[in-house]
């Protein structure tokens, strides 16, 4: 699929209340021609709105945020737009969060300090499931 000119790049939405995290997620995804960041949201509610507007393929979702947290937002998105893949990106290493993430419908649960290639692999893995949901 990669390098295929006919296939448009996958659309990504970054959700994090910290500007630094949004900034560095962008940096890590730069230079990946098949991935395009189409928007940034600062909380769960904002993310839900942007999902409706932008219909991204994958959402990189922070867990703890004001107004609406990542898990709630994930449930809402998966309920309303089941084809959108959600990757939870958290600073907390916790089995409980992982289980919660899975039950909310998240494709994967990765840590914020994960290696760049781990992030990319998770994104691509999620994209590989596109259309299967």
């Amino acid at each position: 699929m990669r390098g295929n000119e006919a296939v448009p790049p996958a659309r990504l939405l970054i959700v994090d209340d910290h500007a630094l995290m949004r900034e560095t997620t962008q940096v890590m995804l730069e230079g990946e021609p098949d991935l395009e960041v189409v928007g940034e949201a600062v909380n769960g509610r904002h993310a839900l709105d942007l999902c409706r507007q932008l219909r991204p393929d994958v959402v990189l979702m922070d867990v703890r945020m004001p107004e609406m947290d990542g898990l709630t937002a994930t449930r809402a998105i998966k309920k309303e737009m089941p084809t959108i893949r959600v990757l939870l990106v958290s600073a907390y290493e916790s089995e409980d969060y992982r289980r919660e993430a899975a039950s909310a419908g998240a494709t994967d649960y990765i840590l914020k300090d994960a290696e760049r290639h781990q992030l990319l692999e998770a994104v691509h893995a999620a994209l590989g499931q596109r259309g299967e949901g």
């Binding site: 910290h18 630094l20 900034e23 560095t24 940096v27 890590m28 600073a91």
Partner: protein, 604 residues
């Protein structure tokens, strides 16, 4: 001497014998006031009667004259002895000095002398002779001039003695009325007898009735002595003791009629003895019928607490009811003793009330302590919560700023590493951003450490630490005023730390919420209190809503500050209105204990 015994002689001898017996009886009790004089009196009576008996029995004139003279020993003695008895019996013993007795006896002695030597002068009897007019040959005399002196003197002494006894009688010594009546009979009967004889009304011609009258006298005194125990209970002592007693004494006869009562009893029962005597006791105090009836069936004493009158004049008494028993053990009445215990009961009641007050105070105090303990537990609980929230806040701070920045730096470097394999070209400034982030991390770390515990506070004190913070903010462009009245003075450590925290937290809130950079800090002393005010002219808020709206992290600061201020006995107040700025005021008292710890700073 020739004798011619008549029945009257026997009678007179009986009088003499009785008088002699009374002498013996009184003499045995001579330690009792009045007893000696009584013995003397009865000796006189005895000699008078005996002499007269012998005079009557004498058959010839010389015999009769001899015994008539001998009689005079008794006749002269009786008035003096009577007065002496009256004086002793009524408590005037001290009048009976040797000198007075000698003076009193002088005239009777002259009478005796003159009687003995009558033949020479005829001053006692001007003429003597035998008369056969009556039932027996009697001595018929015509009295001489001295006889009338002697008679007047004798009557005077008898009169004075009688007066003394009667005056005592009228002072209502009711308990001994019978005794005094006996005495009165004893003295009045000879008066009557003598009067009849002297005035010539004797039913038996030529018979002097006086010694016969003394028979009645002797009997009356004997009755007083034996029946009413004249010499056992001295009326004077009774008067001074019973009358003067603070306790009430009431004597009842077998029919529960009042026989006697003392002034204290009159006062207690509100009834004079004059009115009470003779009346049934239960008529006077109807409430005590049960008590009296209860005692009827019993031989011993009963004790009971009783009260008389209505509040507030009510008095309480300890009543003792005991039987009065004569020498043979026969019950003759009842004695009621009333001991006023009102004052004692009042004191008891006061003590009881005092005790109750004290117990209530202890209970109140205990409740206060329990309340204080509860408050303290509450405070400790809130403090623990505040402490936990502070840790959460710290965790949040570390997570939100330090970790985020380090992760961001790591992501930059990783991305750089991924996109720059060995040998690839590196552009200048490629790593500027991660380096900048690491510098910021260090700075942020320092800021947090400073927030946790600024070293300035320990080393230079509150005034300086606040000033430093103010200067920092001024450097950041704040318009901030600082007013303080302490100068170099240090406050107790815990007060300084707490007030610094309040300042810090209040300024944080201004920074986060007030949307202004204009504030004012005042640190002043008001009496024994330190007062801190942090005021801004920002947008303000509704204090009642803020606790509910804000999340735990925002809330932790001020709530934890409030607990700390409370723990030092102070108060923290937040005044704010939407649009009208906010003022945080903390006041902490400088107690003796906290003040003393001002020296803690030395050597820190």
């Amino acid at each position: 001497m020739h004798w011619q015994v008549t029945p009257y002689s026997y009678l007179l001898l009986v009088v003499a014998a009785m008088s002699a017996a009374l002498v013996f009886f009184a003499w045995r009790r001579r330690g009792t006031p009045g007893a000696e004089a009584l013995a003397l009196l009865m000796t006189g009576v005895c000699m008078w009667a005996a002499g007269y008996a012998l005079e009557l029995s004498g058959a010839d004139l010389p015999t009769k004259i001899f015994w008539a003279k001998a009689e005079y020993i008794g006749i002269a003695t009786v008035p003096v002895a009577w007065l002496a008895f009256a004086l002793q019996y009524t408590g005037r013993e001290e009048q009976l000095t040797h000198r007075n007795v000698a003076l009193l006896s002088a005239l009777p002695l002259v009478t005796l002398l003159l009687a003995g030597t009558n033949e020479a002068h005829g001053l006692v009897w001007s003429s003597t002779g035998l008369t056969e007019d009556g039932p027996f040959p009697a001595l018929e005399v015509a009295h001489g001039g001295w006889f009338w002196v002697h008679l007047s003197y004798s009557y005077l002494l008898l009169l004075v003695g009688t007066f003394l006894l009667i005056s005592m009688l009228t002072r209502s010594p009711n308990l001994y009325r019978k005794q005094n009546l006996g005495l009165l009979v004893a003295v009045s009967v000879p008066w009557v007898g003598n009067g009849i004889y002297v005035l010539g009304f004797s039913p038996v011609p030529n018979l002097d009735l006086t010694p016969f009258a003394f028979l009645l006298s002797g009997m009356a005194i004997a009755l007083s002595l034996f029946r009413f125990r004249l010499l056992d209970v001295v009326p004077v002592a009774r008067e001074s003791v019973i009358e003067g007693m603070a306790d009430g004494v009431v004597v009842l006869d077998l029919q529960d009629r009042v026989v006697d009562m003392n002034p204290a009893a009159e006062h207690f029962l509100g009834c004079s003895a004059r009115k009470a005597i003779g009346r049934g006791f239960t008529d006077l105090v109807p409430n005590w019928i049960g008590l009296i009836e209860y005692h009827h069936g019993r031989a011993g004493e009963i004790h009971k607490e009783v009260s008389l009158g209505k509040e507030p004049a009510r008095r309480d008494y300890e009543l003792t009811l005991s039987p009065v028993v004569d020498r043979k053990g026969h019950s003759t009445g009842r004695l009621i003793l009333l001991h006023d215990v009102t004052e004692r009961k009042r004191v008891e009641e006061e003590v009881r009330q005092l005790n109750a007050t004290l117990e209530k105070r202890v209970a109140d105090r205990t409740a206060q302590l329990a309340e204080r303990e509860r408050q303290l537990e509450d405070l400790v609980g809130r403090l623990i919560t505040a402490h936990e929230e502070e840790r959460r806040w710290l965790a949040y701070e570390v997570h939100d700023s330090l970790i985020q920045m380090v992760i961001a730096a790591q992501r930059y470097i990783q991305t750089f590493s991924d996109t720059h394999p060995p040998g690839s070209k590196v552009r200048p400034g490629d790593l500027d951003r991660p380096l900048e982030l690491i510098r910021q991390t260090v700075k942020e770390g320092r800021r947090m450490v400073k927030g946790l515990r600024p070293t300035t506070l320990d080393d230079f004190g509150l005034v300086t630490a606040v000033r430093q913070r103010v200067e920092e903010l001024q450097n950041e462009g704040w318009e901030i005023g600082y007013e303080e009245t302490f100068g170099e003075e240090r406050l107790p450590t815990e007060v300084e730390i707490t007030l610094f925290r309040v300042t810090q937290e209040a300024l944080n809130n201004v920074q986060k919420h007030a949307q202004t950079t204009a504030a004012c800090i005042a640190l002043t002393q008001r009496g024994r209190k330190v007062r801190l005010e942090v005021r801004d002219e920002g947008r303000g808020f509704d204090p009642s809503a803020v606790w509910a709206e804000q999340g735990p992290v925002e809330r932790v600061g001020l709530s934890s500050m409030r607990e700390r201020v409370l723990l030092l006995g102070g108060e923290l107040e937040i005044r704010s209105k939407p649009g009208a700025g906010t003022s945080v005021v903390a006041e902490i008292p400088l107690s003796v204990t906290t003040e003393g710890r001002g020296a803690d700073h030395e050597g820190e």
